[in-house]
Each structure stands twice: as structure tokens, then as C-alpha cells.
Symmetry: C2
């Protein structure tokens, strides 16, 4: 007899985990709606021609490919087969793959439905993605992404609103966060000034270590990475950049004065800060030059959210990109988006014990079952209580009292109703508060009023 | 340049379709919660050892199989490869497949988590499934199922509650339905009386044609299917069964008097009818002997829901089964469940135009954007309106008025707010009702009160 299991890197979600996950998804969904974002969904399977080549060579390998149904060998010669080359084989035997992220399917969606979409298009999407990564702690082969993007608008108001959205979501969760912001154009400007365009990542990585290893070691690392002494010297004010966002911008303005791109980035940053300052943000907003996510992708603002009270990687990220749909033949579609990391947010909420009690509570009231007679008496009464919107169960069997009470305990049902011979005669319900142990004899109307 | 498309039999869902689908899923979810059902989710990919052999030979062929990542050829000899046998190949090169339904993964879940589950376990699950069926109108390769099951309880109260759930869901949708009910034990009893256990399906199919082709032709068909004259003669009262549920049961009691199994089925049916009669069901409930879904699976009650005002197949179905988890080594787990057909319900709601307006409305209020100055003025005001819970957008660019109004039209936004020079000076907002065309000059507080 087979012992059942699931593929490594995948998960079952229990009722309690689902309640928590639904709380997360619903909160994000509500905030997206508040800002006029609309939901779409795309199929789990995309044509491999849509997916291949979009995530680099490494990404191609991490795609789950689906064997063609029917005769998967129809277009493969015996010679090709005997090569036993998985990549070549898959190219002929697999037409479809599981989506790897929500961005490429979204780009495909925008191009395919361009005539039905009214731009600017504010869409959100909450769906699982699949990656054949080596499974490890906190990294799964199936996980949900919660993306929100605005495409077809260059306006920086979109960046401002996405910051507001991140702020509102984490405020609702009760998670204290710092929203870090950078701008690809500022990084490009710095590289331009230094004459080291190919070294942006090395530079940001090195600067990021300042607190840990000190200025000397940072400069040493830059030297090792091949930066000239002149460049390192020019970079010193950038490395030592500190103070408020405004102070940092003032310094950057001096440093980047001769770089048109750099100054453009600063102007964008200032525009956003000007607007945000009038908006009573609850989160911290910090200009952080070491933020270098998605550098071969983002062209303007870059965002990342860090939780302040838990040691964990970024729990949300995003940025502005210039050519989402070019690869599918539709040029000039600029966009900006964010992606909430549901799994990490789940962990943070768990660690800080921030789930609201009523989000986790399912059934509110359990009626104990004493047998056929009581059961028949209770059915219409239970229907009446449910009609009032109270999530109610009637234990389906006249099991031992202990078993029924333990069922209520396990399911964390806060009230148990006991209706036996006496209560039936009196037309009353004996209601037990499972937390305080207190019991009350109530009429149906009083019972309903209790909730 | 590739023209983007999606795999045949799959679908993108637009914002409007998503709003409709969410309305359907949320309604079903709310009712499941009202009855104490808890949600679980299982991975899209299951081990093929879990899936294979559970859906018959035909079903095995309809499983989407995932090519092992890395070296899919590692356990295949050249000889085997050259056989070009897709089934044999997949058995060695594919470990995982996409789930085909929610029942088998649920059975696997129950066995795998038996020690964490408190029985009776009332679970619901709303997730997509995948089948490599030939795509055709109304049949997709990816579609959602919405299953609710109670396992670990033999009590017929569960059947009663599932009928209440179906009734409540379709009442909330505003779809008039007939819930048809049969019982596998009654069908077995009939076959027993006739001495024709292998002919149950033929018999139900033939009886089902009575209205269309008349008694003579039905008997002819039964003869062709190999039923003896004696059996056909015994079957006449069953074929002609009519009247109320109680009248049908009275007749069946005579016909099945000598069949223990048959009488057991009648007793079950009576128990359910007794309880339901006291429960003010909105739907019709009809005993229908021609209902023969899942006969090699169901062991007791069988349900099917038909919409009364639309020509379409059954929109929900289910029944009682006796050995859900035996195949995974856990014997004696009885259960009863139903499955809502989301795609067909979607079509019915469309045809009858039953979607509530506010379920489809996303953004409630759009602020027109006249330029940087107005935009900067509006941002905090918009934040204030959103803080009151009103789903609000500020058009991100100072595009032409016509373009912004047409954006509001397309998105079906009911109110547009216009704040130009004059309004800014007066501290007022000019609000246009997009349906009546009526305009009002309001303060922020008055605007909020409008919603």
C-alpha cells in the first residue's frame, strides 16, 4: 500500500493555514481595490514559446515542462532521441510549461488583449507560480505571488500610489516596515560619472557592507572588483552618503551634476518625496542607494520593503520598467509594479502573532447532538440561527459529550449550545462560552443577539 | 515576432470575468462557512503515483504529466527509448502530474494528515484542475472545481445539510433550481429484484427517455439491452413511477419489499425527506430514479441540481461514498460531498443577467486630473476619501477630458469628481453622476456621505 506524499517543495494548506493565507490575500486585495486595481487571472500553463528565453538560461532550466499528451514522440527522430539531451528533447516533446512568475504572463495578456484593455491598466493578480528550484527552507517549488502593476502610464503618480498601497497594506497587517526606494537612473548616473557602467552591481554590493566592514574594507573590495583609484575616490561621497532623504538628495545633486540621467533620477525621486510628504505615511520611506534589485529590468524607481521587527529578507518589492511587452511585439508600454511576498508575510505575521482573532475563527456556534429526537427538533432552529448569519454547526452524530466538546475545542468554536429534554420543554437553549466556561439559558432571539 | 497565445482549452480571465467569478466563489465560500466547512488547498502537482489508476485507463491518458527537471533520461535505456511508447516513457521520465480533480488529492490529504484532522472533517476546496480532454465548447483543459465534503461521519444529517447548502447557494444567486435526489441502494435493489445487477445504467438511461419516446419504445430499448421479458414486466411500475416524492416512495416500498438493500435506500431517502420538509427549502427537491451519476463510486444518496430557467446540464452534483481513502491504506472512511460547477453557474448567471450590480463595480469614484498643481492638491484629498473606504482613483495623467471620461465609462465608474481652479479656491468638489448626468458641488464630507 502506497504511503501518500506530495512532491518535494510543495505544500498542503490546513484549514488554519488557509484562514491565515486568506486573511493576507483579502487584505492585499481590498487595498488594491481601494486604489482602483482590477483582478485578472491567466492559465497555469503557458506555451513554452511564451516562457522560454524570458528568465535567462538559468530560468529556462527552472521551468516545469508538460509532456505533450497523446504521442509526444511524433516529431522526434530516433537519432535525436538517442542523444538523450533533455533540452533538445523538451523542445520537441513539450509545448507547454507552468508559469514561472506573473510578469511574463501579464505581458502576454496585455499584448493579446490590447484592444479590449483601456489604458492606463491597473491590474492585480494573485496566483501560484512554479519553479524547479532546489527546495530549501522558505523556498518552495509552488508559491503564490501577489502582483499589482499600472501599465500604459509614465506618470510618477503611479509610483506615489504604489508607495501608499504598500504603506496601507502593512498598516492593516500591523507590521512596522521601512519602504526603501532607489532609482535606476541614479545608479546609472553614478556609473556614468565613474566610467564604470558594468560595475553597478559590484558597487552597490560593496556599499551595502559599509556598516559591517567599514570604509577601508569597502574600498578594498571595490579595488578587487577592478574599480580605478580615481573612480573609488569619486565614489567616496556616495559611499558615505547619510542623513535624511533630503540631505542625501542634496549631496547626490552635487555628485551627479554632470550626468543627465543621474539628474533625471534625482528629479523623479524628488517628485515622489514631495508628494509623499503631504500624505501622512505610517511607514518609513528611505532613499537607499544599495537597493539594486532587478537591475537588468527596472529603469526608474526601485522599491523594497523591510520588516522592522523581524529578521527576514524583503517582504515586498517592485519598480518601474520601460518595455514590458516589447518581446511580444508591442513597443513603448511603460509600467510600474510591486509584488507582495505572501509566504514571508505569513511568517512575519506568525512570529509577531498579529493575526486578528476573528480572521481565524470559523464556526461560531456548535449545537451538541443528543440523538434523533433532539436532532430533528434542532434542525429548524439551527437553520434560523444560520439565517441570522451566524456560522453554526450541528454535530452530525449523537457521539459522547466529551467527543463533541473536544471537536468544539479543536475547531476553536467559541460557543456550544446544549439542548436536551429540559431545554426542549422550556423552549430554551443552554449556551456555554467555551473560554470563560459561563453558561446561559437563552431564547433563540437572545442567542442570535449574543453574536 | 511571436504572436502571443495561450494553450488551447485554457482561458484568460478579464477584470469583468474575474469580478463575476469572485462573486460566484465568494457566495459558495460564505455558505460553506455558514455550515462550518473549512477550506484547504493542495498543490497543483501531485506525484503521479497518487493520481495514476484512480480515474480508469481513459483518465490516466488525460493526466497532464510533468517532465522531470534535470536529466529526465537518467533511468531509461536506449532500447526503451526507441520503443517510442509514450506511456512507458512517461512512467520513467515523469514523476509528477497536474491534479485531475479535487477528490483524489483530498483523499490523499486526509490519509497524510489523519493525525492532525479532527473528524468529522468538513472541508471545502476551490481550486483549478487540469484534464487533457479534447477542448470543445464549454469544456476546458483548466477549470475550477468547488467541492465540499464531510468525511468520517455516516450520519444522514450531512446529506440534509448539503441539500440546505445547495438550496442556500442557489437562493443567493437567484437561480431557480430543482435538486434531484436518488439513492444508489434503491437502484441496486431494483437490479436485485430484476436479477440484472449489470444493467443498472441501461435501465436508468432507458427510463429517462419515457417522456420523449413513450413506454413502448422504452420497453423495446430494454429488450435490446438484453433484459428478460419477466424483468421488463417487473420493471413497469418503476418506469411509470410518478406523483409526489411520498407517492413514489410508497410505490417503491411495494416493489422493493423483498430487497434488503433497496429498503435501506428507501429508509435513507425517507429520513432525508422527513428532515427537509421541516426546513422551508426554496428549491424543489425531487426523487428521480433516472439519476445515475457516479454509479461505480457512490454508495448512498446521489444529488444533481438542474437550473429551471436555462437549458444546460446539471450545475451541481454529488453523493455519498463509502471508501474514499482505502486506496491510500486508510479503510472505513465514509463521506458525502457535492461539487458546484462554477463554469456552468457563470453561464447561467450571464444568461439570466443575475449578477448584482455592486459585485461588478470596482472603482466608485474617479478624480479627473487637470495637471501637476491640481494633482498635488488632490492627492491628500483622495487619500481622505479612500480612508473612508471609498474605492477611488486619481487619473494618473492630465490627459484630455474626453479620454479621462471615457476611461470612467469603460471601467463603469459611477461618479467622476472634477476639481479645477474654481473648486480649489472654494474648497469644493464637483461630482458628476455618470448615469444621470447630474452634477453637485460638495465638500469632502458631503462627498464621503454620498457613498
Amino acid at each position: 500500500m502506497q504511503k501518500p506524499s506530495i512532491p518535494k517543495g510543495t505544500r498542503d494548506f490546513s484549514p488554519e493555514e488557509m484562514a491565515k493565507r486568506n486573511y493576507i490575500f483579502n487584505t492585499i486585495r481590498d487595498v488594491y481595490h481601494l486604489y482602483g486595481f482590477q483582478q485578472i487571472e491567466t492559465p497555469a500553463m503557458e506555451n513554452l514559446s511564451t516562457l522560454m528565453g524570458k528568465y535567462g538560461e538559468e530560468g529556462d532550466k527552472l521551468l516545469f515542462k508538460i509532456l505533450n499528451s497523446g504521442d509526444c514522440f511524433s516529431s522526434i527522430s530516433c537519432e535525436e532521441l538517442l542523444e538523450k539531451n533533455p533540452v533538445k528533447f523538451a523542445a520537441k516533446a513539450c509545448e507547454k510549461g507552468l508559469r514561472y512568475d506573473l510578469t511574463v504572463p501579464f505581458a502576454r495578456f496585455v499584448v493579446q488583449h490590447r484592444n479590449e484593455i483601456s489604458f492606463p491598466f491597473k491590474r492585480y493578480q494573485i496566483q501560484p507560480v512554479w519553479r524547479a528550484d532546489r527546495p530549501q527552507k522558505g523556498r518552495y517549488r509552488e508559491f503564490y505571488q501577489c502582483d499589482g502593476d499600472v501599465v500604459g502610464s509614465d506618470s510618477l503618480i503611479n509610483e506615489v500610489e504604489l508607495i501608499q498601497i504598500m504603506d496601507e497594506v502593512f498598516h492593516r497587517f500591523g507590521i512596522r516596515v521601512c519602504i526603501k526606494m532607489n532609482n535606476r537612473k541614479i545608479l546609472s548616473g553614478i556609473a556614468e560619472i565613474l566610467g564604470a557602467a558594468d560595475k553597478i552591481v559590484d558597487i552597490t554590493v560593496a556599499i551595502d557592507k559599509l556598516d559591517k566592514i567599514g570604509l577601508e574594507k569597502v574600498n578594498e573590495e571595490l579595488r578587487e572588483k577592478g574599480l580605478s583609484e580615481e573612480a573609488i575616490s569619486k565614489l567616496q561621497p556616495v559611499i558615505m552618503l547619510s542623513g535624511t532623504n533630503r540631505e542625501k538628495i542634496a549631496s547626490l545633486k552635487e555628485i551627479l551634476a554632470t550626468s543627465e540621467t543621474g539628474m533625471k533620477g534625482i528629479a523623479e525621486m524628488e517628485f515622489i518625496l514631495d508628494r509623499i510628504e503631504k500624505l501622512a505615511l505610517r511607514a518609513e520611506l528611505e532613499l537607499d542607494l544599495t537597493l539594486a534589485r532587478g537591475l537588468n529590468y527596472y529603469t526608474g524607481a526601485i522599491f523594497e520593503v523591510k520588516a522592522l521587527d523581524v529578521q527576514i529578507g524583503s517582504i515586498t518589492g517592485g519598480g518601474r520598467y520601460d518595455n514590458l511587452t516589447g518581446v511580444f511585439g508591442m513597443e513603448g508600454v511603460s509600467g510600474v509594479g510591486i509584488s507582495f511576498g505572501a509566504d514571508r508575510i505569513f511568517d512575519v505575521l506568525n512570529q509577531l502573532d498579529l493575526y486578528p482573532k476573528d480572521a481565524l475563527q470559523t464556526t461560531q456556534l456548535l449545537f451538541v447532538n443528543f440523538g434523533e429526537k433532539e436532532e430533528a427538533y434542532l434542525l429548524p432552529l439551527v437553520a434560523q440561527v444560520r439565517a441570522a448569519g451566524i456560522r453554526t454547526e450541528l454535530y452530525p452524530e449523537s457521539a459522547k459529550m466529551k467527543k463533541q466538546m473536544s471537536y468544539a475545542d479543536t475547531k476553536k468554536i467559541p460557543y456550544v449550545a446544549i439542548v436536551g429534554e429540559t431545554e426542549m420543554t422550556e423552549g430554551k437553549i443552554n449556551v456555554k462560552n467555551m473560554i470563560t466556561g459561563e453558561q446561559q439559558l437563552l431564547t433563540v432571539d437572545e442567542l442570535i443577539a449574543l453574536f
